[in-house]
């Protein structure tokens, strides 16, 4: 078996693990900040917004890399439904990684809050509207919880590949060299 094209490129693996840390941190910060009135609230919010923009930028770079460099083929031993689940989960990840930051930004715009990240005043991307704000706020919350559920499934599946199936799928994205 040739280890080279069975794996994601080093850039893809670097983006995956960097974003894994950012997104998990983001989801924990999100649920943590809305459940506290302590001064941490402001610290968490002040991380949440710029980190969301960082994730958006990384996700767009990653999408371009994925479209140009592709992904290693799934092992022939994987049953078709499992392959379909894997492909759909990747699609869902890209939609969420790009969609959630945009929904958050749009939600703040629809509430007429100034959006300031890294000292920069970002433009408002939607008009001031209670209806839009409510729609996006609900979407942001629901999709974020779905994102966490998807990550849990993804992690369980990755470990299943690594520990039980041992079919090279985990190694394709593992940060270290295979041997």
């Amino acid at each position: 078996m040739s280890p080279i094209h069975d794996r994601f490129t080093p850039l893809q693996r670097a983006l995956h693990w960097l974003m894994a840390i950012c997104i998990l941190a983001m989801l924990f910060i999100g649920v943590g900040m809305v459940s506290t009135v302590r001064p941490d609230y402001l610290s968490l919010v002040s991380i949440h917004k710029p980190l969301g923009i960082v994730i958006l930028v990384l996700a767009l770079i990653r999408l371009v890399v994925r479209l140009t460099r592709g992904a290693p083929p799934l092992p022939a031993s994987m049953p078709e439904p499992m392959k379909l689940a894997a492909r759909l989960s990747h699609l869902a990840f890209y939609l969420l990684m790009i969609g959630l930051p945009l929904i958050g930004w749009g939600m703040l715009s629809a509430a007429d809050y100034p959006v300031v990240v890294f000292g920069m005043h970002l433009p408002s991307i939607l008009p001031h509207s209670n209806g839009l704000h409510t729609l996006l706020w609900n979407a942001h919350r629901t999709l974020a919880l779905c994102f966490f559920a998807l990550i849990v499934l993804h992690l369980a599946a990755a470990l299943l590949h690594a520990l039980v199936r041992r079919d090279g799928v985990f190694e394709a994205m593992a940060p270290w060299s295979k041997r």
Partner: protein, 352 residues
């Protein structure tokens, strides 16, 4: 890579390991979200605690529910530029959207029944940065911490224990001081005669990078005229809205922004403690109220006057309230904007 056969026992161990990882991650998430900590003071609890016995008025702010919008300008004289590099402290005129309001959860409360009045402002700089502030006319806050504020809400809603409020005051003597103010301070018959205070302390940073703890007040240029509570009760339920509308129609109304600079050691973390009167005061400019608009279709209704929306040159201090207010205001905003259809849009509704 060839599949390596694995024993049933090692597969089982692997599955257990995977289950442990999944459960640990989900548990950490649930803990962070507060789902495992019913005792945590969440912004939703504070907002729930503000609701009157009959439930919150849908579509309205959960506190300071009764109010009226205005537009105007902040005419900066440059006096505070040495304290803060905030763009609206450079000399000039900056547009303002604001709201006069009453500290009640009931948008239909008669004006004479509400002791505390408020002023909320959004001041916008040409670069788009904003300074939002929500102030009240009391000279100090009723309690020292957000936790105590929640305790106050619980004590005042507690009908089963007649001593609840007495016990609360015993445990929070600062609230007794506030009750004293509420009982003895003169009332006025106009929003235009009231002085509105930030109460919370903030840090101003100037162009040289020097930090300074401050509080601020908007001091009316109209002379306050004391009116007895009985005289106020004789007026209509919405006399404040009628008064300010009529005053502004005849002439713009003005307040001076006075920034009070803390001495070293002044209590910045406790808004229930006023600073001594002799502290340095800086006249920063004038708030000019040019036009009054009823809330129903006014520009202030769907704004969240979150006191942590600050321009560069201002940030929060060790005062725990701005963070708690920001968190709670956000919950109030999210709820009322979702209840848009319940808000009486047309004149003749609950707001003047």
């Amino acid at each position: 890579m060839a599949d390596r056969p694995t024993s049933n026992a090692s597969t089982f161990r692997s599955l257990v390991l995977i289950a442990i990882v999944v459960i640990a991650l989900v548990a950490a998430f649930a803990f962070t979200a507060g789902w495992l900590s019913p005792g945590r003071l969440t912004p939703a609890k504070i907002v729930n605690g503000l609701a009157p016995p009959g439930g919150a008025a849908l579509g309205f702010r959960r506190n300071h529910a009764k109010g009226i919008c205005f537009t105007g300008s902040f005419e900066s004289n440059g006096g505070a530029a040495a304290l803060s590099k905030a763009p609206m402290f450079a000399p000039g005129s900056y547009p303002v959207t604001g709201r006069f309001n009453l500290a009640t959860a009931d948008p239909k409360a008669p004006d004479a029944t509400v002791r505390v009045r408020g002023l909320s402002l959004r001041i916008v700089a040409p670069n788009g940065s904003e300074w939002r502030t929500a102030m009240i006319d009391a000279p100090f806050f009723p309690v020292a911490t957000p936790q105590a504020f929640y305790g106050l809400l619980q004590a005042s809603a507690n009908e089963s224990d007649p001593d609840a409020m007495k016990n609360f005051i015993a445990a929070h003597p600062e609230f007794g001081t506030f009750v004293g103010w509420a009982g003895s301070a003169p009332w006025t018959a106009s929003y235009a005669q009231d002085r509105y205070n930030s109460l919370n302390s903030f840090i101003f940073t100037n162009a040289a990078g020097e930090d300074q703890a401050v509080r601020w007040s908007f001091v009316p240029t109209a002379q306050p005229e004391a009116v007895s509570p009985d005289q106020l009760k004789a007026k209509g339920a919405d006399f404040l809205a009628a008064d300010i509308t009529q005053r502004v129609q005849s002439a713009p109304q003005r307040w001076t922004l006075v920034v009070t600079v803390a001495n070293p050691g002044d209590p910045t973390a406790d808004p229930s403690k006023a600073w001594p009167e002799d502290r340095r005061k800086v006249d920063a400019g004038t708030l000019v109220v040019n036009a009054i608009e009823p809330e129903a279709n006014g520009p202030c209704r769907d704004l969240n006057f979150d006191p942590t929306v600050l321009p560069s040159g201002m940030h929060v201090s060790d005062d725990p309230f701005p963070a708690a207010r920001s968190a709670a205001y956000s919950v109030s905003f999210n709820r009322r904007t979702a209840e848009d259809k319940d808000y009486p849009r047309h004149p003749g509704g609950a707001t003047p």
